[in-house]
Symmetry: C2
Subunit: 389 residues, 2 copies
C-alpha cells in the first residue's frame, strides 16, 4: 500500500506540480507588464491569456528574444537582469543579473549565444543560451579608458553581433565563431550619438540612427571593407526640431518592397527610403513623433505609433500612395504594436487603459481586448525564425 | 488499495501511453520517406531524428503545411490522402482520403482552412483545419463541363487561395471569407499548361510557370483588376529544348534583394529576374535542368538541385556575381533542400543513398548525415509563419 501511494505521488507530481502545457509554441507571445516586473504568456490563435510569470525585475524598456525551438523567451530587463522564461511551464528557468543597467539583447543565428548590451558598465556580455554561463565580456572602451553606453545590438548571419557605442560614435562587429574569444572590428567616427540600430531583414545592412546629427550611418555587412557611409544626411535641415520626449525605435524597421520606412527624430514625419540608392524618397507627415514604424507582413501598409503627448493614436500609411489612410484611437499610452507573423492580426499595448488590443488588419476592426497591467512590449515567438529580431 | 491502483493506472497512462514530448515546436521538421508512406520527425537544434510516423499512403510528390502553432503537419499525399500529423505525440491525428489524385495544398493566412488541389477529379477542396471537415468543393470546370487538373495552389493574404488550371490555362483566386461559399475570380487565357505556381514572399505577386510556351504568367494580387500579364516571354527562343524529365518546382522561389531566381524549363539554366520590371536580367548556366532554386535566407547565395540524370549535385550561385561558385556532390537522387529559417544550416535529401545531410551554409561543409528511407521533401515547422509556404 505504502509503495503504491509513493508512486502515485511521484506520478501526479510530474503531471500537476509543473503544470506544463503540451502544445505547439508557434502561436505564443509575451506581453511585458512593465510596472509589475511580470510577463503575460498569451496565444494568438484564439487570442487568450495563458499564464503570468513574475519576478523579472525592472522591465521598463524590456525586450525579448526567443530560443530557436520557440520554448524559451530571454527577457532583458533595465536593471541588467537576463531571465530565461519557459513558456510551456510558465516559470523562470534561469535568471542572472549581468550588469547594472541594460538596454537590450540578441540571440545568435544558431541560437546558441545570448548577447546583452549594457549602459553601466558600458559593453556587451555574451552568454551560453542553455546555461546562461558567461562566455565573453566585451567592454566598450574608447578614448582614455572610458566606457561607452552600448545600443542597437542585433544578430547578423555568420554568428556575428553588431552594435553601436552612444558616447564613442562607433559601430562594432563581433565575430563569435569562438564564443570565448570574440574578434572585434571597429568602425570609428560614424557620427554623433547613435541612439538605436537595426538590421535589414536579410541581415545585410546595419543602420544606426544618429541623435547628435540629422542622418543615419549604414554598414554593408557583405562588404565591411567599404566602411560606414552616411545616409539621409541632413534630413531635418532648416526645420525647427521639437523636443524629443521619447527616442524612436528602429527595431520595428519597416521594409515594404524596395522601400524602407523609418521614424524621423524630433519631427512629426516618417521618412521613406528608396532601398536601391538609400536616398530619401518621400516624407510622410503624421500625427506626432513616431516611435515604432512597422510594415504589415504583406508590405501593403505601414503602422505607426507616437511619442507623448500624441501616444493615443495609431496611424496607417498606404504603401502605394504614401499617405495616411486610417487613424485608430486605441487610447492613451500606445506603447507597442506586433503583427502576427503572416499579418492577419496585430496586437497593440495600451498602457494607460491596462489593455492589450487585437485588431483585424484587413478591416482595421478591434477584435478583442485582454486585460494587462501597464503593458508595454509585445513579442511573438515567431521572432525565433527571423534575422535581427 | 484497488482505488489507488486504478488512479495510478490512469495517471501513468496519461503520462506514458501517449508518449508525447513536452518541447517547443519551432525547430521541428518533417522528412518524407516516400517509398514507405512514412515521415520522420526531426529537430534542427542538435540535428537528430525524434520519431517516425507511418500509414500516410502514397507519398510520391508529397508536400506539407503547418498549423500556426507549429504542432500539426498537414501532409498531402499523391493518392488524395490528407493527414494531420501531431508532431509532439508522433501520431496521425486525423486522416481523410479527399480525392483520387492530389498534387499539393495550402493553409489559409489565419490557419483555419486547409485547401487541397486535385488532378482527379480536377478541383480544389477546402477543409476545416481542426476537424478536417469538408467546407467547400470547388470543381475546376471549363469548356464543355470538362474538369481541369489544378496545380500551383498557394495561400494569399486576406484569406484567399490562388491556383492554376493546367488544362484550361487559367488562374483562379478563391476568396474564402465565407468558407462554405467561396467567391471565385477567374483569369482566362493566361497561357498554355501552367505547370506550377508560386507567390512572392510578401504575398503580392502570383506567378504561374507555363509548360506549353516559354514564359510565365503574373498576377498582381494588389491589383487583380489589371489582369494577368506575361513575363519572361520567349526565354527559350531559338534554343533547342531538352526533354524534360522532371518539372521544375517553383515553390522554392528564390528572392534575394530585388532579384528573383527561377528554374528554366528544359534548359540547363537559372533565370534571373529584375523584380523592378520583371524582365530577364541574366541567365546562369548550371549543371543540369534545375528543379529547386532556393535562396539562403540572407539572400547572399542561391542553391540549386537538378533533374535526372544530373541529380547527384547541388550548385551554389553567388548573388553578387551571378556565377556558380561551389558545386557539392551529395550523391545520386538529390530531391530537395530546405534551409533552417535563419539560414545557418541546410538539409538535403539524397534518395539513392537513403540519407538526409545537413550542411553548414557558411563553410559548405557536411556536418551530419541521418539515415532515411528514400527521402524526398523536407519541411520545417517555421513554414507556419510564412506567406505562401
Amino acid at each position: 500500500m505504502k509503495r503504491w501511494w509513493l508512486l502515485l505521488v511521484l506520478f501526479s507530481g510530474a503531471l500537476l506540480a509543473d503544470d506544463c502545457a503540451l502544445r505547439g509554441t508557434g502561436d505564443l507571445a509575451i506581453v511585458i507588464e512593465r510596472a509589475d516586473g511580470a510577463v503575460q504568456i498569451v496565444e494568438t490563435t484564439h487570442n487568450t491569456a495563458i499564464a503570468r510569470v513574475e519576478g523579472l525585475g525592472d522591465l521598463s524598456h524590456a525586450s525579448v528574444v526567443y530560443s530557436r525551438d520557440g520554448r524559451y523567451a530571454y527577457v532583458f530587463g533595465r536593471d541588467g537582469g537576463l531571465s530565461k522564461v519557459d513558456l510551456l511551464c510558465a516559470r523562470v528557468e534561469k535568471r542572472v543579473i549581468q550588469s547594472g543597467n541594460s538596454i537590450g539583447g540578441a540571440i545568435s543565428q544558431d541560437g546558441r549565444l545570448i548577447a546583452v548590451s549594457n549602459y553601466t558598465p558600458g559593453g556587451v556580455k555574451v552568454f551560453d543560451a542553455d546555461s546562461l554561463e558567461l562566455l565573453a565580456d566585451i567592454p566598450a572602451t574608447w578614448g582614455n579608458g572610458l566606457r561607452s553606453k552600448v545600443i542597437g545590438l542585433v544578430d547578423a548571419p555568420g554568428r556575428r553581433f553588431v552594435f553601436s557605442l552612444w558616447d564613442a560614435g562607433e559601430i562594432w562587429v563581433a565575430d563569435m565563431q569562438d564564443p570565448r574569444h570574440p574578434r572585434i572590428t571597429r568602425f570609428r567616427d560614424i557620427g554623433r550619438n547613435p541612439y538605436d540600430g537595426l538590421i535589414t531583414p536579410d541581415g545585410r545592412y546595419y543602420i544606426a540612427g544618429l541623435f547628435g546629427e540629422d542622418g543615419m550611418a549604414q554598414l554593408d555587412l557583405w562588404h565591411p571593407e567599404r566602411g560606414v557611409r552616411r545616409i539621409l544626411d541632413h534630413y531635418g535641415r532648416g526645420e525647427k526640431k521639437l523636443p524629443v520626449y521619447k527616442m524612436p525605435h528602429l527595431e520595428g524597421w519597416a521594409v515594404a518592397g524596395d522601400r524602407a520606412f523609418v521614424p524621423a527624430v524630433g519631427l512629426h514625419a516618417v521618412l521613406v527610403i528608396d532601398l536601391r540608392d538609400w536616398r530619401e524618397l518621400a516624407r510622410i507627415p503624421v500625427h506626432g513623433q513616431p516611435v515604432f514604424v512597422e510594415a504589415r507582413p504583406d508590405g501593403r501598409e505601414v503602422w505607426v505609433n507616437f511619442a507623448f503627448p500624441n501616444n493615443e493614436k495609431v496611424q496607417i500609411i498606404d504603401v502605394e500612395t504614401l499617405k495616411v489612410t486610417h487613424t485608430l484611437e486605441p487610447g492613451k499610452g500606445v506603447l507597442h504594436m506586433e503583427f502576427e507573423p503572416r499579418g492577419e492580426e496585430v496586437w497593440i499595448s495600451v498602457r494607460d487603459r491596462d489593455r492589450v488590443q487585437v485588431y483585424d488588419t484587413a478591416t482595421h476592426r478591434l477584435l478583442r481586448e485582454l486585460p494587462a497591467r501597464k503593458p508595454s512590449g509585445i513579442f511573438m515567438a515567431a521572432r525565433a525564425h527571423r534575422i535581427g529580431l
